[in-house]
Amino acid sequence: MAEFFGKRWHDMGGDPAGDINHDQHDFALWEKRVDALMVLASSAGLMNTDSLRRVLEDMGEEAYETMTYYERWIASVSQNMVEAGAFSTAELAEKMAQVKTRGATYGDAT
């Protein structure tokens, strides 16, 4: 299957894979906020499910294996916002640097 021309990494139906992990984690506040940002940015006309997926898929297989679900989502939402002109990469970098100085935990910085 893997050598089939045109099949990309995310098209994983039928690929060999291991056991299904049934562990469930409770969604953290920051994850719920990422989910909400995707929905609200879509409602605002800045992105949609397809543009979310396009960035996720372009991030590649390594990102899928090494980043958590909502880590990948915020990376995609952020990229979509820059592409939509909602803010610039410079503005994002400046804001992130500022957020980082607020404290050691998410609760401190948010």
Partner: protein, 214 residues
């Protein structure tokens, strides 16, 4: 958060380990979430209240909503027809705010058992059932359910007779599925409210069957 009268490693009154406090070191992606959210608010694209309300709306969605839809379909043949014709509209008619989601209900019968997956990503009827379980988004489920569904079902504790056909439905962003499980024979005299307790999340994904409430 303050800690009140419990030792780490001890069990809670419900018999589960206490969950760790969510106070790990602030990481890069959390910083990005805060930054993106604040920039979108500062620039007037969204409001803080909208973020709050959206989280509340998603938190309020759960498999119990889908269970009510299924129980209603079991109790009312006319509604069942409407559900199978247009599950999105039928769910809205029951009062569930599922947004623009295009929802398709598929009925399990004596001859066909249906299962839902999203092999390409993680599409799920989230606006009715809430956010998907972690395993639904995993490589293992997405890869294997389409080639060895009976083996995967057995890992979920479900055995489907060999003479029952299994159909796996692959979701897309624009088309999401919910399974209408077959009503268990022993539940025919129950009220709609009682029936809803039999409908599990997994039975609406197709990796489970309705179960007597514990």
């Amino acid at each position: 958060m303050p800690h009140d009268n419990h030792d780490h490693g001890a069990l809670s009154p419900s018999g589960h380990p206490y969950r760790k406090d969510d106070d790990n070191e602030l990481n890069y992606w959390q910083i990005m979430e805060i930054a993106v959210r604040e920039l979108l608010i500062e620039k007037g694209h969204i409001t803080a209240a909208q973020v709050h309300n959206q989280i509340n709306a998603m938190d309020a969605r759960s498999p119990a909503n889908g269970a009510k839809v299924v129980a209603h379909a079991w109790s009312d043949p006319e509604f069942k027809s409407a559900l199978l014709a247009d599950a999105g509209q039928a769910s809205r008619d029951m009062g569930f705010d599922i947004g623009p989601m295009h929802l398709i209900a598929i009925e399990n019968t004596e001859s066909v058992h249906n299962i839902v997956v999203c092999t390409l990503c993680s599409c799920y009827p989230r606006n009715l059932l809430g956010l998907p379980p972690d395993w639904y988004k995993s490589r293992a489920y997405r890869s294997r359910i389409v080639i060895e569904p009976r083996k995967v079902l057995s890992e979920f504790g479900v055995e489907i007779p060999q003479d029952v056909q299994i159909r796996v439905h692959d979701s897309t962003a624009d088309m999401r599925y919910i399974i209408l499980p077959a009503q268990p024979a022993q539940t025919m005299s129950l009220s709609e409210d009682e029936l809803a307790y039999w409908v599990t999340r997994d039975s609406m994904i197709g990796v489970g069957l309705p179960q007597a409430p514990k």
